[in-house]
Amino acid sequence: MITQMQVKGLMFDPYNNAYIVILRDDDQAEMLPIWVGKSEASSISLALENVAPPRPMTHDFMKSYLDAFQAKVISVVITDLSENTYFSKIHLTYADSEYTVDSRPSDAIALALRSQAPIFASESVIRKQTSEELDQWLENLKPEDFGKLDS
């Protein structure tokens, strides 16, 4: 089983000096925080805010690379979580064939947002996540804490 998730925003995690991408399902029942690096967070932020930078950033370049051959991102799925590392799959179509490519969720999300492709999470990932304590303080965060990333 997989659940479609929406990117709700980004926040800074001062304890780990990292950024967290917040994914929620459509019912707002499940939440999945994903820790990402600064440059990945910046890239996701640009896509969320629909900002076109003067020069193509790495994920814009990635999109151009696929666009050049009419390869299309059809969906991304966050599939596994082990030792705080998430795994994801990018599903592509190209020349009537389907391909699945292993990636980090940060790249998958940054690319999905630029490709208008849906983001899914497998049930096992959400289950593992909800059992963690971090979920609780994330739930308590105010919406104002999400959103713009200055970078």
Binding site: G37, S39, F69, I90, Y99, V101
Partner: protein
């Protein structure tokens, strides 16, 4: 920009990445490239820290537990059969360098516009050659950069 590259009749100059220098004052990285026909002649490109690290990892043949962004682009190429043929630094405007990545798949050639950092990070992972046009080479920044660079590197050691 690719038009500009193809219009020129002057041969391109091939470059190799010599090293990545950390500029801790500005949290940027300097990519030092050398001419393959004259290693004493350098070309420098300033890039962001993460882009610089992506190039350094390729130079060091570093293995990361998970694929980083440019590893993912390479992986797309391997899955779809897209070959990175070459990378050309094609232009410089207001101290910003422009690159073109030449791709090929089943006889179909495509070019894409890129920042030099992404182009070089991909080229190193795909063993693709890196070139600069004669025009951009002539307009490369600064005359005394080598001296300045060695000062920067000495300071950091």
């Amino acid at each position: 920009m690719e038009a500009r590259a193809s219009q020129t009749t002057e041969p391109l100059i091939q470059l190799v990445v010599n090293r990545v220098v950390e500029d801790s004052n500005t949290d940027t990285r300097i990519i030092v490239l050398a001419r393959t026909d004259d290693a004493a002649e350098h070309f420098m490109v300033w890039v962001g820290a993460s882009e610089g690290e992506a190039i350094k990892r390729a130079l060091d043949a570093a293995i990361t537990p998970r694929p980083m962004s440019h590893d993912l682009v390479k992986s797309f190429g391997e899955h779809l059969g897209i070959k990175t043929e070459r990378v050309v630094l094609t232009d410089v405007k207001s101290s910003t360098y422009y690159a073109t990545v030449f791709l090929e798949n089943k006889g179909v050639a495509r070019t894409i516009d890129a920042r030099p950092s992404d182009a070089i990070a991909l080229a190193l992972r795909c063993q693709a050659p890196i070139y600069v046009t004669q025009d951009v080479w002539r307009r490369r920044s600064g005359q005394n950069l080598d001296a300045w660079l060695s000062k920067l590197e000495t300071k950091e050691v």
